[in-house]
């Protein structure tokens, strides 16, 4: 095997006459687009950082030498109540190849617990108001050994934020935000939280204050006002969402809940350096003949497949992510290191804002793993996630235009997203104004008994979840002058309040209504993940 070259940092390319057409993700397909010469630029992500050579040893080292904490072994006693909570199916994206990092970390923690002789151990998927994980998904995350040892006896389970006996109210912050988390975590002598940091938004107090929480606490920061003040929520120091989570974290700590945080970062190796999708993380002018042949063959094959077959193929992809760092100990000290490590992979320095930002949205978002990417999730992936992947100031200027490429089908998974269907049909048909939606409809959906029942017993996202998705778009909606979706279902796009366009050229033409002639354009070549450090 040839030694890997040192990874190159991200790149901002000024488009010239020799720039080949650029790849746009387009759901379960792709588009190759030419950008106007002389006024366009493309931001390419950094190449994958090298993974740790021995991840298991690195994990053991982190547990033995934690930051601002005693070693994990010293925190355990035989007669203690131990809870291990872990990030749910929304991380990482796409799901990673086996063994999942969570499995490695949980096995290392359990090894120590077994050595100490701890009997009372519970393992909880910290999914807040997300859908429950299926057995297959749990097995993939924690591994068969852990699943078989704990799940049959009911000691490995999904968090249930609507269980009246399973949640504990811990008080309020000095800003009046209520704090409520899992009763098991509160009653435990130690809660070990196992995190995967895909983006800088993840981790820290958000792991427990959100992941093990419920609607009572979440509504204090998952709201329009907080989102519009978070600029951006990918930049924790400037994120109101994080500020509120941190305040709630203080209340949890002051209530005596002891948490040992284990955070991990992964590299950008989303599509692999070899294999059928490797060209998707290469710069276009570096595509070899084999890359082009693979791409053309893939597009040819996809054109003969039904949407559901295409979805099945793409969702079967497991990313060969590698662990780049692991740190454990006190939440805030750990998270500081984690954030730096995440930025080391993702940040790309960019000079100045742009009039038009373009992006190709892929087939997956945090909320449609093994599911349909419905129009609301298309909106939140573009306006909530990708738009907010900046530090400093937004990549697109205030009043600018965002052009997204995605088929945006009028299609929902009724098992996973039942309340999304009603939200789309009833709420968005009435208004797209986040403030009005929040005021008029949120409570009704959040407290709906049927949605609550589906969340607790089926595999449905909570009734209030589509509202949160729309709120996550609210900073972008407030900032942008216009949103255009290329290649989307026109009816679905209009329902979202956006403008449909058939081609990128049409969309650029339409954008001039808002930003004037000869606008500057910046394309976000994502995924693999990148974050613009805008000066």
């Amino acid at each position: 095997m040839s030694p890997r070259k040192a990874p190159r940092p991200g790149l901002v390319l000024d488009v010239d006459a020799s720039t080949p057409p650029v790849l746009f993700h387009h759901g379960e397909n792709f588009r190759m687009e030419k950008l106007p010469v002389g006024r366009s630029r493309i931001i390419y992500p950094a190449e994958p950082l090298r993974g740790l050579i021995d991840p298991d040893q690195a994990i053991r080292d982190a547990l033995e030498n934690p930051i601002d904490s005693e070693p994990l072994r010293a925190l355990m006693t035989a007669d203690m109540k131990l809870t291990i909570a872990f990030d749910d199916i929304s991380l990482p994206l796409p799901p990673m190849r086996k063994p999942d990092i969570r499995q490695r970390v949980i096995e290392a923690v359990l090894d120590i617990a077994a050595e100490v002789g701890v009997d009372d151990v519970h393992i909880i998927a910290a999914l807040a108001l997300h859908r429950r994980m299926t057995e297959d998904e749990l097995r993939h995350a924690v591994g068969d050994r852990v699943y078989d040892a704990f799940a049959p006896s009911g000691r490995l389970y999904n968090h249930d934020a609507e269980d009246p006996d399973g949640m504990t109210h811990l008080g309020t912050t000095n800003h009046g935000e209520e704090v409520q988390i899992s009763k098991r975590a509160v009653d435990s002598d130690l809660t070990v939280y196992v995190n995967i940091n895909l983006v800088s938004m993840d981790g820290g107090h958000k792991s427990t204050a959100t992941g093990l929480s419920g609607y009572t606490a979440l509504r204090h920061h998952h709201n329009v006002d907080t989102m519009q003040k978070s600029k951006s929520f990918m930049d924790p120091p400037n994120s109101e969402l994080h500020t509120k989570n941190w305040r709630q974290g203080d209340v949890i700590r002051n209530a005596g809940v002891k948490i040992f945080q284990i955070e991990t970062t992964i590299n950008n190796n989303t599509f692999g350096e070899t294999g059928p999708l490797s060209m998707l993380q290469k710069r276009e002018w570096e595509w070899t003949g084999r890359d082009r042949a693979k791409f053309l063959a893939m597009q040819g094959g996809l054109s003969y497949m039904t949407p559901s077959a295409r979805r099945k193929v793409f969702h079967s992809w497991k990313a060969p992510y590698e662990l780049t760092s692991v740190q454990a100990g006190e939440i805030e000290a750990v998270h500081k290191v984690t954030t730096e490590n995440t930025f080391a992979q993702h940040l790309v320095p960019v000079e100045g804002q742009t009039d038009i930002m373009t992006m190709g949205l892929p087939y997956i978002s945090p909320y449609n793993v093994n599911s349909v990417m419905n129009p609301i999730l298309v909106a939140v992936l573009g306006l909530g996630y990708f738009f907010n992947l900046y530090r400093g100031k937004p990549l697109v200027r205030e009043g600018g235009v965002l052009i997204m490429s995605h088929p945006t089908p009028w299609d929902f998974n009724p098992v996973h997203h039942p309340s999304y269907i009603d939200f789309f049909e009833q709420v968005l048909a009435d208004t797209t104004d986040p403030h009005e939606i929040e005021k008029k409809y949120e409570k009704q959906y959040a407290e709906d008994e049927w949605y609550r029942h589906l969340y607790r017993t089926s595999y449905a996202y909570h009734g209030v979840h589509p509202f949160y998705m729309w709120y996550w778009c609210s900073h972008a909606l407030q900032h942008l002058g216009q949103v255009i979706i290329v290649g989307g279902d026109p009816k679905a796009v209009r329902r979202l309040g956006f403008r449909p366009a058939s081609t990128l050229q049409d969309a650029l033409e339409m954008a001039t209504d808002t930003v004037g002639p000869q606008p500057t354009i910046t394309h976000y070549h994502n995924p693999p993940m990148l974050m613009a450090d805008v000066k």
Partner: protein
């Protein structure tokens, strides 16, 4: 009228040398297709990517050691190469008994006169080495193009070896294969003899054997230069002799250079044995009087003269040939 004027235009283009060739005409519509149907252009502000050559030492040969390729090669060697060599080279094999105690992979190091050496040695190797052996072949010659690379890898199980230097890629590949149980045939002279005499041995075989702690089996091939010497394209049938020597191990305190000298000396002794007889060759070896493989260091014509004078004749009457 139009046809006539078209014809005249074509003739004038041809006379002026501006006519577009047929290949160009066919390629033109393809070039009009956009990326990714055609190769991408490189933006002016970035450095053009380094082209990773898939020929030479980078030529992939893993596929040629898969079970189907191995079986294909074994069938080719046993049903085609061996009969052809039996007719063309009429080989006499000597010293096979010296390999009786040998187990596991080994490096076979032989002198090199002709392209016939490879198929002859490959078909003459005893089992089990015959079907689990790779040939160290000049990367620049045998793997210079994809076609020759594929044929070399499939038919003779060749792996690319950089003959200009001991390259890391070549030695790593050879070491990995030996670790996997493959034996290796190397021609340490680095190329065919230009004049019938041998060339100094290069250190690759000794270096690999030293690093992998496997024995080197010295081999001398006599007579293939008469069949198809360098520069000749039509083979002439002739008798050949292949002499295998005792497996040699690198001493713990011996460096690769000294080991290489020992291998070269041993092949020279085998050459002497093939040309004369074992007893005389042994006596000269003990007296350190074994003729060098590289021949006398004199004028070119005298080297050729000397070569012909000493060779036993099996094909027709003894005669001298003037240098050509």
């Amino acid at each position: 009228m139009t046809a006539v004027s078209n014809y005249r235009a074509k003739v004038s283009q041809r006379l002026a040398g501006t006519e577009v060739p047929l290949v160009g005409k066919l390629r033109k519509p393809l070039q009009a297709l956009p990326f990714p149907y055609t190769a991408p252009t490189v933006p002016q502000t970035v450095e053009a990517p380094e082209k990773q050559s898939v020929t030479g030492t980078n030529f992939p040969t893993d596929w040629a050691r898969t079970e189907p390729a191995r079986r294909t090669r074994a069938v080719l060697i046993d049903t085609m190469v061996r009969p052809v060599m039996a007719g063309l080279a009429q080989p006499t094999k000597r010293g096979m008994d010296r390999l009786h105690g040998l187990e596991g992979p080994a490096v076979f190091a032989a002198n090199h006169h002709s392209h016939v050496d490879t198929p002859l040695l490959l078909s003459s190797l005893p089992m089990p080495w015959r079907h689990r052996v790779v040939i160290g072949a000049a990367a620049d010659y045998f793997f210079g193009t994809r076609v020759t690379g594929v044929l070399s890898a499939l038919v003779i199980g060749a792996i690319p070896i950089d003959r200009t230097k001991i390259s890391r890629a070549s030695t790593d590949l050879a070491r990995d294969l030996i670790d996997e149980g493959w034996s290796l045939v190397v021609f340490p002279e680095g190329g065919r003899s230009p004049d019938g005499w041998g060339q100094p041995f290069r250190g690759g075989a000794a270096f690999i054997a030293q690093r992998t702690s496997v024995p080197v089996v010295p081999v001398h091939i006599e007579g293939t230069g008469r069949i198809l010497r360098k520069g000749k394209s039509t083979p002439t049938p002739s008798r050949t002799t292949i002499t295998f020597g005792e497996p040699m191990y690198c001493d713990p305190d011996e460096d690769a250079r000294a080991f290489n000298d020992r291998i070269e000396a041993r092949v020279a002794e085998l050459a002497d044995e093939a040309m004369t007889n074992w007893w005389d060759a042994r006596k000269r070896a003990h007296a350190q009087d074994t003729p060098l493989l590289t021949g006398p260091q004199t004028a070119t014509w005298r080297r050729v003269w000397e070569l012909d004078a000493d060779r036993p004749r099996r094909n027709g009457p003894k005669s001298r040939s003037w240098p050509k």
